[in-house]
Amino acid sequence: MIGLAHFLTVSALLFAMGVLAILLKRNAIGVLMGIELILNAAGINFVAFSHFLGGLEGQVITLFIIILAAAEAAVALAIVFSIYHNFQTINVDQVDRLKG
């Protein structure tokens, strides 16, 4: 029988993978994918809690998360595009003019 704990384990793993991707990936697109993983981990939590505790609140929240994740991704990709235009690379380690 699949219970709440199984869903929480999956979301915790997804969250950890997202954080690792952000820390280890040097490609800006890879970093953004890590962020998506974190948002989806939170989404799974909301849906799982909503199902096992009753009520629809969690599922509604997840719908909002999906929409905002898309909006955020669109903005982030536009920014990566402008980075590529200015630096001819999307390696986040080579974008380091501002220091101190």
Binding site: L32, I35, F46, L68, A71, I79, N86
Partner: protein, 486 residues
């Protein structure tokens, strides 16, 4: 039911209408000053709509998603005023004169709408939505100068740090939802004041949620984005960022902690935290003050120095949050105003100088005293106010904070704050020394445009006048330091 709720939402509706109006106007290219005056007129209308709400009793609306109370009213008025000042800062700027004026003000209004919603958020979903409404347009505004490498780098760093922090926060909020079974602050408070709960899990959820709030107010250890973003972004937007969204972050942090993790006031009016969060916030406050002030000592770029200074000021304001008292809240609201006046003043001087010299390096400020004595005198006044020298408004703000900390018997934190004020004096005076004493080669007089002179004059008068006659502000902030249900 819904229609009467809309009445409470009128200021936000005006801002949203203005936003749509700007969107339509932006179909044709128009000048920066055209949009600025349109926005100023619209925001003045929103202020009037807000003033009409002042007499209404505190209540929640939109199915308890948003609340109307003195605290939210004060914050919304503050955000409107701060945005109007920031719009004045965008005029006659060297950076902001190219195409895309409509888009700039459109995004700025979206951030304002998000800030106003943040002040009244009463549900985890509202917190997340309005925080994103503040953040996402901010990423674009930081990278608004898309031909400049610094600006696009600033926006990349901002979007990565920002999205990570809000993602971690959202995960923490999902755990809070799972613990209480509802996202509303009332349900959270019921849950935490009733049955036994796992303090470890609540602590974990709280720390994760703090990542999002901490990033918004640029508190250590979530501050790493701030120096780079402040330096790379257009200066007028940096000024706005250091005042508006930071205060919005404080407003939502206070509402979240006071409405969901604090007991309802007892017969004596004392508030009791339901988990040891004040200790956590106190440690963050001390850490933030030290990180900001010590890193500011070695800066060569004025905007970077102001970034670290704004981190340090976030530390002072956090001190007010961890007191869990009305006195603390009042001190925080007073500091919002004081900080906005002096910080926008400093940034305006930085804009004027950069318009003339094209640089924000402190080394290029040498000998400015000869070129623009009034400008440099104004800068000196703002910097001394930031350092907390009497009789300026920054001193009164700090005095309220320290007094509240001592009244709350948080003596060690008050001592830390005093030590930090002393450290901060060093780097503020260092900038003054460069401008007043160091000789410079250039001697041609530097004349700021009329609009800048007028705004500067108003800010100088406010810095001095509110430092001496702080009575009215005292009564306003005292009346505003009340949240619905606490």
């Amino acid at each position: 039911m819904l229609l009467s709720d809309l009445k409470l939402f009128a200021p936000e509706l005006v801002v949203a209408g203005l936003l749509l109006g700007v969107l339509i106007l932006a179909l044709k290219p128009r000048s920066w000053s055209f949009y600025a005056s349109t926005c100023l007129a619209g925001l003045a209308l929103a202020l009037v709509a807000l003033a009409a709400l002042a007499a209404l009793p505190a209540q929640s609306y939109f199915s308890s998603m948003v609340v109307h109370d003195p605290f939210a009213l004060f914050c919304r008025a503050f955000f409107l005023a701060a945005t109007m000042l920031a719009i004045l800062l965008t005029l006659r700027s060297r950076e902001l004169c190219g195409p895309g004026a409509g888009e700039f003000y459109l995004l700025l209004l979206a951030v304002l709408l998000g800030m106003m919603l943040l002040a009244g958020s009463n549900h985890l979903l509202m917190v997340y939505l309005s925080l994103e409404l503040v953040s996402v347009p901010s990423y674009l505004l930081a990278g608004f100068l898309k031909r400049e490498r610094a600006s696009s780098e600033a926006s990349l760093k901002y979007v990565i740090y920002g999205a990570l922090s809000t993602g971690v926060m959202l995960y923490g909020l999902s755990l809070l939802y799972g613990l209480s079974g509802s996202g509303s602050f009332e349900a959270l408070r019921r849950h935490f004041s009733g049955s036994s709960f796992d303090p470890g899990l609540v602590g974990l959820a709280l720390v994760m949620a703090l990542a999002g709030f901490g990033y918004k107010i640029s508190s250590a250890p979530f501050h790493f984005w701030a120096p780079d973003v402040y330096e790379g972004a257009p200066t007028a937007f940096t000024a706005f960022l250091s005042v508006g969204p930071k205060a919005a972050g404080f407003a939502v942090l206070v509402r979240f902690l006071f409405s969901s993790l604090t007991s309802q006031p007892g017969p004596t009016g004392t508030l009791l935290p339901l988990s040891p969060w004040p200790t956590l916030i106190a440690i963050l406050a001390a850490l933030t003050m030290f990180v900001g002030n010590i890193a500011a000592l070695v800066q060569h770029n004025m905007k970077r120095l102001l970034a670290y200074s704004s981190i340090a000021h976030a530390g002072y304001m956090l001190m007010a949050v961890c007191l869990v008292s009305v006195t603390g809240l009042q001190a925080m609201l007073f500091y919002f105003i004081a900080y906005a006046i002096m910080n926008l003043g400093v940034f305006l001087v930085v804009i004027v100088i950069a318009n003339a010299t094209g640089s924000e390096e402190i080394a290029t400020y040498q000998g400015l005293w000869v070129r623009a004595p009034y400008l440099v005198a104004a800068m000196g006044l703002f910097l001394l106010s930031l350092a907390g020298i009497p009789p300026l408004v920054g001193f009164v703000g700090k005095f309220y904070l320290f007094k509240a900390a001592i009244a709350g018997q948080l003596y060690w934190l008050a001592v830390v704050a005093v030590i930090n004020s002393a450290i901060s004096l060093y780097y503020y005076v260092y900038v003054l020394r460069v401008m007043f004493i160091d000789p410079g080669g250039e001697l041609t007089p530097l004349r700021p445009p009329a609009v800048h002179t007028a705004v500067l004059a108003v800010l100088v008068v406010l810095t001095v006048a509110l430092g001496i006659f702080y009575g009215p502000l005292d009564s306003i902030t005292r009346a505003s330091a009340h949240l619905l249900g606490s």
